[in-house]
Amino acid sequence: MKNYFKYIAILALGIVSCEPELENSIEDEGFYSNGQADFSNYVALGNSLTAGYADGALYISGQENSYPNILAKKFAQTQETSGFTQPLMNDNVGGLLLGGNKIAEPRFVLSVGANGPRPGRLNATPTTEVGNKLEGPFNNMGVPGAKTYHLLAPGYGNVQGVASGMANPYYARFATSDNATVLADAMTLNPTFFSLWIGNNDVLGYATSGGTGTFQINNTDVATYGANDITDPNAFAFVYSQIVEELTANAEGVLLNIPNVTNIPYFNTIPNNALALDAATAANLTGFFQAVAGVMTQVLMQQGASAEQAQAIASQYAIQFNEGANRFLIDVPVSQTNPLGFRQMTEEELLLLTIDQSALAQGYGSVVLTQGVMEVLAVLQAGGQPTQQQVQTLFGAVSGIDDKDVLDSEEIQNIETATQAYNGAIAGIAQNFDLAMVDVNEIFRQALEGGIEFDGGLITAEFVTGGAFSLDGIHLTPRGNAVIANAIITAINAKYGAEVPKANLGEYGTVTLEQNVQ
């Protein structure tokens, strides 16, 4: 009788264990490896890029696809971890309320209008109230808008300071106290592993303002900086090093360097030569500027310049336009050598994504030819002498692009100088502290220049369609985040002898389609 039970037990076991099992299951211990790194307590520090900010807003599905969240899931396959928490927003609308008033707009979505697809702000009301404090700290300590020195700034998460701009609304949602710093909050999690991607905003604020701020070179007092200033590279290096020193007390980690922001779609979508002219208009414009140069010569001579001097200066305004694509004109500071304060853009200069494109179509960036201007031109053509007022009308017709809409060559130079200096500092610090490092600058350059291959094609820096950048032209799509996550995994695997599996890029989405826009 006993035997019966034995056989029945064996049979029953056979039925229960009929679930198929793989010989080398990835769930088996030791299939993947954390190497010399310990991912049990992973903390991510950074700015909007780390937070999962995308499409001009922070919203849940963007956060879920943040590169730190992607990473954390892969880390969890190599060892037991304590999980990865994020200060999730209240909705997939994005935007913020402060005391019930909207202080940040909903996300961009791609809608199709009469002129084809274009990004628009979602027509919905944000529901995330800054004052509704979350129980922090969180593993993802990415704070949209944070510059490097903000991570050490007490009060950066004080709700009371948000309205006056003294504090950050995103950090205010989950700062552990009014006086907390981002770094101190992160340290309370006792990280065993960290990622740090900070410094982008130290130059991005300047860039997205069209370079209206100041390059604070040799000014290390960050308290004096404006929002659109470029942080002094020495100040950057000092603060960055301080952050890393604290983080490395008990943890290994990875540093991400700063992409040259001029590689992002925000600066590469509106071509600087989008002034498309037919032959007749081109000839008219050329004629107009010849008139401007001629009149300017006279004006200068009236002011006492020699004919030669006057011609030398005025000739810069005899701009030649051709049928087809022509570069726009931009405003520059009025100076002795450029008394009218405008010039044609050079090849490398960049227009910002936010420029008013309908204004461009109506003469912004070239000439607004009103009836009055035509009359002045007629006078000139007839060999007449223009009045003072007519001269003003003529010069006033030139509509150069404002500084806030363009990065001129000097501004681009400032950005490059700062970025290079920052990246030099990051590379040095990575070496000093023996940390892994990811050259994001190189990844962004690749995206811009040839694209990054994946099984579904190419990921490029093309706005809307490229797949890497979200609809704000600055922040990454889920797929872009996965690219960063994979680069980090490559760096970690190499540095720490780990075997962390990668993310399958094709499974991550890009931009979201929706017609309901503002």
Binding site: I10, C18, I26, L110, V112, K502, G509, E514
Partner: protein, 416 residues
Amino acid sequence: MKRLFLLGLFVMATAITYAGGYRVSLQGQRSLAMGHTGVAMVDNAELAFFNPAGLVFLEDKINAAVGVSAVFSDVVWQNEEYGQMARTDSPVGTPFYAYFSYKLSDKFSVGLAAYTPYGSSVAWEKDWPGSHLVNDIELAAIYIQALGSYKINDNLSVGGGPIYVNGSVNFNRNLNRSLTDLEGNRSNVTIDASGVSAWGWSAGAMWSPVDSLRIGVNYRSEIIMDAENGDADFENIPNSPLTPFEDTTFNAELPLPAELTVGVSYQMNDQWTFAFDYNRTFWDVYESLDVDFANPNIPDSRNPRNYEDASIYRFGLQYIANETFTLRAGYYFDESPVQSGYFAPETPRNDSNNFTGGLSINVTDKVAIDASFLYSRFEEIDESYDYYQENGENVPFEGTYKSSAFVPGLGVTIKI
């Protein structure tokens, strides 16, 4: 005797019968217990399926056999590169059969049969990494057949009859690898059609050159299930003219391929009988799963399958222990019709070794209980489906698969 019985049961517990593609070889507990052989066995009404020519050789006037199996079939998939793993959580399939034959005269028997030779039910975790190929599928076809069986002489008979098929399909998958609505829910489509009907036939012959030896052949025709005006239900579609997916109807074709079986049975003595069947299933007909949506704005779905004809080799042994107990065991090798590079996770079948066993208990002279079970053993396999397209490029879906199936079954045989 008890010991022999238990031992036999135990040995048989390491074997099961199933079949490649979406063929479900579970058309009789007695046959299944013998490796699903039966084209040349004259034993009970299961002949209605295996070879209607044999019905006329049944001794009793009225023969009936009914039964049902419970298919516990699951698949595990993993992709090492991306650290992904998924398991199916497929509902338990319950294929059944019901056969009846009536001897009108010594030379002629008629019969009726209902059985479910094709079907599939696979349910992966929703939004798993292969969800752009399939989330879940439920495919069922019931065959109903009228039969005649005619004895030409004492050694030779023929049989056959028309088949009416009624089928249904329900298939859900995500539209691609990443499309979501505003809330991040994956866009997906369910196609559903039921009450799809079609006609076919089967015919067989049986020859018995000597008393102890029978030779059989049976052919079941190809039947194309033509689903017309089924429902296509699109869900979580972004509100955008760029994704013009709205609920519509669809047409699609699914072939139930023809099958040819030849086999022998040899009665060694009063107790032992051996059987061998060879099946050829003409899967070649299944080239592509094409779903044509009625709405012209919705692109039709083309899914190359490129199945090839496949063979199955079946071996069975029967041991009549005494008046009450008959024990059976069997084995078959099932070649998959799925070709490398076309390994779609909706029917993730590679070649399998199948072990079967079972027994009959004669409760009375007229009634017997038939029990069987099948264990299908699949090798672990690294495979891919290479014909999913994104932006005009083939994007392979790769991984390591391992399937298993365990199918216990129970039936009743009646002879009056």
